[in-house]
């Protein structure tokens, strides 16, 4: 009799234990302050889906110091992290190289996930990675189209290119067709380091009536965007930036996915993973929303003529 009563109590106890909701532990690695927006979008998305009470974040902002990643990963192992959310190409590549356990990783702000070797293809990563591509290469033609449409007088587009980068040809190939239809000549400016860019910026004079500067999806111009802005301002030519985030420093126009939106979009991927989907089975998504931002302040500063319709089209205008 006692035995049956004990079994009954045990059943009641175990059912109460197992009925508790699981707490999902998410490790977040942010490359720098600007990318906190991605995390915010991601967090808000999860809250909206309904994870607000059973989510725990382990947030690390490495502030461009990639050496911190091994230590962070060890902490993730100790805390038995269920999922990693990581921003930017270098961070994700570092994780791919260093990670020792099969933890799913959702990436954001990776310009070309296939090109940089992070995933096998956009349909299936073939590994633990999935996420939202920044579509930096794919958007190059659209971005050139917007640049020409906004500054119709431009005939020469100067593009800083690092000849050592592997996807150089891909970028040029992407630009070739639209340039032809838009009647623009792509003028590549080759530089492998800051000094090279400095030299060009210092010595090359552009024609404000026909020239423009177009940022490629390359790490070098992104790292030396100050020189490009300087180049644009000195020659009073418009600068099409690769990412809207640059427009805070300078440059005239940008058309890129919004960090917050991409983070938000990524929360749905996380939902799938929590419900059992394997990252390799979740296709890498394109950004649902691409934001058009115009730096009217810079345009005015450079006293540039432009297609005013864009002030209506723009999602955001910096005044």
């Amino acid at each position: 009799m006692k035995k049956y009563f004990f079994i009954f109590l045990l059943c009641l106890l175990s059912s109460s234990v197992f009925s508790q909701n699981k707490i999902y532990k998410i490790g977040v690695i942010i490359y720098g302050d600007p990318f906190l927006k991605s995390f915010e979008g991601f967090r808000d998305g999860l809250n909206k889906i309904g994870y607000s009470k059973n989510i725990k974040f382990y947030l690390y902002n490495i502030k461009t110091d990639l050496k911190k990643i091994p230590k962070i990963l060890n902490e993730f192992y100790q805390n038995k992290i269920d999922l990693i959310f990581a921003t930017t190409t270098p961070v994700n590549l570092a994780i791919k190289k260093l990670i020792k356990r099969k933890i799913p990783v959702i990436f954001n702000e990776v310009a070309d996930p296939v090109g940089c070797g992070l995933v096998k293809s956009l349909e299936s990563s073939g590994n633990n990675f999935t996420g939202v591509t920044h579509a930096a290469i794919e958007l190059l033609p659209k971005r050139l189209e917007i640049f020409k449409d906004m500054f119709p007088y431009i005939k020469n587009c100067y593009v800083f290119i690092n000849p050592l980068e592997e996807f150089l040809n891909t970028q040029l190939k992407y630009l070739k067709t639209p340039a032809k239809f838009l009647n623009i000549k792509i003028q590549p400016l080759y530089a492998t380091n800051r000094k090279g860019i400095e030299y060009i910026v210092k010595n090359l004079s552009l024609n404000p009536k026909s020239d423009g500067i177009f940022m490629s999806a390359s790490a070098l111009p992104m790292a030396n965007v100050d020189l490009l802005i300087k180049f644009s301002r000195r020659n009073k030519v418009p600068l099409m930036v690769i990412d809207n985030i640059v427009l805070k420093q300078g440059g005239c126009v940008g058309y890129s996915p919004d960090f917050y939106s991409v983070g938000f979009q990524s929360s749905y991927i996380a939902d799938k993973i929590f419900k059992g989907a394997l990252p390799e089975n979740i296709p890498i998504e394109y950004p649902e929303k691409i934001q058009l931002t115009i730096n009217l302040k810079e345009i005015k500063k450079l006293n540039l003529k432009f297609n005013k319709n864009y002030l209506i089209y723009a999602d955001k205008v910096i005044k």
Partner: protein, 943 residues
């Protein structure tokens, strides 16, 4: 199969209460479930219709807007305006991601995309229907085809955006899903269905969702209630579902609660059934248990102290009384059985109980032990098989007679061997009794007499042996009881005691001894007793031993023999032996003396011849003197052997004694001698002259044994004899002397006789040489033994007690001091007493020659008188004076006159105690006869 009351009560409860309850709950839940399902399906249909309409509305709304815009551009006909319009739509619309204007050939005229650069003139597929689904950039798009002037306008709307806007609340209990016409799941409001590879058969979608398990992520299994509806224009399937768990939450809750109630009722049922069983079933079960125990023979039953005041209680009381009565009866019976069994098994004889078929019914333990069998092996078997190993009834069996007469039958002294029963069996003689037992049963009692028979036979045999022995032996044997009455007397006793009839009482000459034996309870042996028989004295040797049975005196055995004749014979033999010994001794002495006297007489004769030749005369006189010394030596030997001689012990260096004595004997002989003496050899306290004789004799023995190239090796070393030594010596310090020669050795058969007196292998040997050696060493508390290998040589081992070096040094010092004093002495007034006139005169002459003044006396009285009247420096007294006062008494008198009298004792008897211990008697020194002038001179120099 038996079912207990407790189980019956429990089952009854379950049947009456729980089963209807369960059925009720299930029926109720089933009813509620059906009702709930109907209700849910209505809700789902409503929701689906609403969502479906919403979707159609959104699409139509977008389509309408675009159409309106298009109509404006139609009116303006401004190409730039159209471009700007398209751009505006793309940048501002949340749903429209691409707008393409194509001609009827499919060539792109104008296109705008949120992501792509649309190349004019590019070939584009024209969808067949107005609404179509397209997969692009990993996203699903709804393409709307509309006429635009003469061209075609294609609008691409992101379905993900549409649906996400529509189903923003993902936590809703209703799950929405959209699939295309091919079954591809385009959207699911909750789960990760939108995986490219997943395809669902739309026709069976409803079944899949409702009845089968869907594992969207290959992990989860959820049952749904779903409603699916097709939107014909769009070729899309809309579905809405709800998890059964959620849908029937209330019913499940009801079921859970109901289950809990059932569970509680179950518990209560068990408790109630327990209580009832306690009240009803327990007493009955107890009674069942008790009856089971009684069946097993267990009567030690504990009844409850109190009984319920009902029918069960009454049953209990009656049952308890019944059990007690039965228990008492059984106990009494069991007690009787136990007693009988104990009796049966304690009987040391054999008992069989058989039935009329001769089958063993019962057998006692004693018989089983005899048979060396287990009870199971014999029960039921025929008694003659077990008892006699036979196939037929035993010839001496009385059962048949008992059957007829109904009375017991006894057969005594049955010889089983003679009856050809079992020749090899141990049981040969038995008494048997056959009794009628229970109805149709018989008891056979067997008393084994074999052992008794054997013992009686043995006793008879022993008695016969004893009788024959007693009468056969030559010794007289009389056995008396404790009252000294003769019980037994043998023929020899009758003969010795010359008895014709046997007297009742013991003879008086044994009576006293018998009394002693009876008191001391010990055997007494009397070697010789003279008794008078018929006036004749006979000598008997007898032995009386008490007869003790378990320590109690029962009588005595007197064994005696007549030794009268034997004793006479022994005396004769002894006499004869003595005569022979004296004869041998006399012959030996005579032989030696004759030789010595012959030599002396010869030399004296020569002296007469050389009376004028002084040198030759002296030579012959010396030879005569030497012969006389030999004679002296012979007498010393005899004295030593007679054990009467006293030792004159002095501390000596044994090396000197050995060397002097051996070298003396070996002078002129072709025999090498080698000495090996330990440097710090201990001194010995010995009679030097006797030890000299020892080595003389040993050397002579060796000379006689050595044939050629002789060699004698003599070694001496210190030896400490411990208690565990094999030698028959007291523990202490000894000198071990090894005397070894390479002579012919001594045959083994005579080795143990060489120290016997008069034993000699030589024709002319006296047989006293080695026996003298043995005697001297023994007197010195030493030991001598011999080892010899015949043909190779002989070794004598001599052990003499040693003195320490310190003692020797002290003695030497004392001796030196004395010498120094004596050297100073000059002429003395000497009184010489001896009864031999010639000697007295000769000594007087000698002393006077030495310059002393000499007084002579024949006897002690004269000597005392002279001493009184003259100043005498030194007195020499003969110990033995025939017919007068000897030295022993004279010194006493002289000491009375002068306590400081210096007297020297002189005697031919060196074994006299006065010579050996002269100081004790008051003498200052001693001189043994015969002595030379030189010896006398040396002695006088001391004083």
């Amino acid at each position: 199969m038996k079912i207990s009351i407790y189980k019956k009560i429990l089952i009854g409860f379950i049947i009456v209460s729980i089963i209807p309850l369960i059925i009720g709950i299930f029926l109720l839940s089933s009813y509620f479930k059906t009702e709930r399902t109907k209700e849910l399906l209505n809700i789902l249909n409503t929701k689906l219709t609403f969502r479906k309409n919403s979707f159609i509305e959104i699409i139509h709304h977008e389509e309408r807007d675009i159409k309106n815009l298009i109509s404006i551009s139609k009116i303006s006909k401004n190409k730039e305006y159209l471009n700007n319009l398209l751009k505006l739509i793309i940048f501002k619309s949340k749903l429209i991601k691409e707008i393409d204007i194509i001609d009827k050939n499919g060539k792109l005229i104008k296109g705008e995309s949120y992501i792509d650069f649309k190349i004019p003139g590019q070939k584009t597929n024209i969808p067949s229907s107005k609404y179509s689904i397209e997969f692009l950039h990993n996203l699903y798009f709804l393409t709307i085809k509309t006429d635009f002037y003469d061209n075609i306008l294609l609008l691409k709307i992101s379905l993900k955006d549409v649906f996400e806007n529509m189903f923003q609340e993902r936590k809703s209990i209703f799950k929405y899903f959209i699939a295309d016409k091919d079954g591809r799941l385009i959207f699911h409001s909750n789960y990760a269905y939108v995986l490219l590879k997943n395809k669902i058969n739309v026709n069976k979608l409803n079944n899949i969702l409702e009845h089968s398990l869907i594992s969207p992520c290959n992990k989860k299994t959820i049952y749904y209630i779903s409603v699916i509806s097709k939107i014909k224009d769009f070729n899309l399937f809309f579905g809405v579902s709800i998890e059964k768990k959620i849908a029937y939450k209330q019913i499940y809750s009801l079921l859970t609660k109901g289950s809990f109630v059932i569970f509680i009722i179950c518990i209560l049922s068990i408790i109630i059934s327990l209580i009832l069983s306690r009240a009803l079933a327990n007493p009955i079960n107890n009674l069942v248990r008790i009856t089971k125990n009684i069946k097993k023979g267990i009567f030690n039953i504990k009844f409850p102290k109190k009984y319920p005041n009902d029918e069960i209680g009454e049953l209990y009381i009656n049952f308890e009384l019944m059990v007690k009565t039965v228990t008492n009866l059984i106990k009494e019976k069991q007690l009787k059985i136990n007693k009988l069994n104990a009796l049966f098994n304690t009987i040391n004889d054999s008992i069989y109980v058989i039935n009329s078929n001769y089958e063993i019914v019962l057998i006692n333990i004693n018989e089983l032990a005899y048979l060396n069998k287990e009870l199971s092996e014999v029960i039921g078997k025929k008694c003659y098989e077990v008892f006699a190993n036979r196939n037929t009834i035993c010839p001496f069996c009385g059962i048949e007679k008992v059957k007829i007469n109904k009375n017991p039958i006894f057969y005594n002294n049955i010889n089983l061997v003679e009856k050809e029963f079992r020749k090899e069996c141990k049981r040969k003689y038995v008494n048997m009794a056959f009794y009628p037992f229970e109805e149709d049963e018989f008891l056979i009692y067997i008393k084994d007499l074999t052992q008794i028979y054997n013992i009686l036979n043995q006793i008879e045999l022993e008695r016969e042996k004893l009788y024959v022995t007693l009468h056969a032996i030559g010794d007289g044997v009389i056995v008396v009881n404790k009252n000294k009455k003769i019980i037994l007397i043998n023929e020899a006793a009758k003969k010795i005691l010359k008895l014709k009839t046997v007297p009742e009482n013991i003879f008086s000459f044994f009576e006293e001894l018998l009394d002693t034996v009876f008191i001391e309870k010990k055997q007494i042996d009397i070697k010789e007793t003279n008794i008078e028989i018929d006036g004749k004295i006979i000598t008997i040797e007898n032995s009386i031993a008490p007869i003790l049975i378990k320590g109690k005196l029962e009588g005595a055995v007197i064994v005696f023999r007549d030794i009268t004749e034997k004793k006479k014979y022994q005396q004769e033999i002894l006499k004869k032996e003595k005569l022979e010994a004296v004869g041998m001794l006399a012959a030996g002495i005579a032989h030696d003396f004759n030789n010595i006297l012959t030599a002396a007489l010869g030399n004296i004769s020569l002296c007469e011849l050389y009376v004028n030749d002084k040198s030759k005369l002296i030579e012959k006189l010396k030879a005569t003197e030497e012969s006389l010394f030999k004679a002296k030596s012979l007498t010393e030997k005899l004295l030593t052997f007679s054990k009467g001689g006293y030792l004159i012990k002095e501390t000596n260096d044994i090396r000197k004694i050995i060397k002097e004595s051996v070298n003396f004997i070996l002078s002129g002989k072709n025999i090498k001698v080698e000495y090996k003496f330990q440097e710090d050899l201990w001194p010995v306290n010995v009679d030097a002259s006797q030890l000299t004789q020892v080595f003389h004799n040993l050397t002579l023995n060796s000379i006689e044994a050595i044939e050629k190239d002789g060699k004698i090796e003599i070694s001496a070393q210190n030896k400490v004899i411990s208690e565990d030594s094999n030698l028959p010596l007291k523990p202490g310090n000894y000198i071990e002397i090894i005397f070894k020669d390479n002579g012919k050795g001594i045959p083994v058969n005579i080795l143990n006789k060489i120290f016997d007196p008069f034993f000699s292998t030589k024709k002319d040997g006296s047989g006293l040489g080695l026996s003298t050696v043995y005697s001297i060493i023994k007197k010195h508390d030493g030991y001598i033994k011999v080892n010899s290998v015949y043909g190779k040589g002989t070794i004598f081992f001599i052990y003499l007690p040693a003195e320490s070096n310190e003692t020797l040094l002290l003695k030497k010092k004392s001796s030196t001091q004395k010498k120094e004093i004596s050297k100073e002495t000059t002429k003395k007034r000497i009184l010489f007493m001896d009864d031999n006139d010639e000697l007295r005169e000769a000594v007087k002459e000698l002393l006077e020659l030495l310059g002393h003044e000499v007084f002579t006396a024949k006897k002690g009285e004269e000597a005392i008188e002279i001493y009184k009247n003259n100043k005498i420096d030194l007195v020499i007294l003969d110990l033995t004076i025939i017919g007068g006062m000897g030295g022993r008494d004279t010194i006493k008198e002289l000491l009375k006159i002068d306590k400081k009298v210096k007297a020297i004792v002189s005697s031919g008897y060196s074994d006299d105690d006065v010579i050996a211990n002269y100081k004790k008697y008051g003498f200052v020194d001693k001189i043994e006869k015969p002595y030379t002038l030189t010896k006398l001179k040396k002695l006088l120099e001391k004083f």
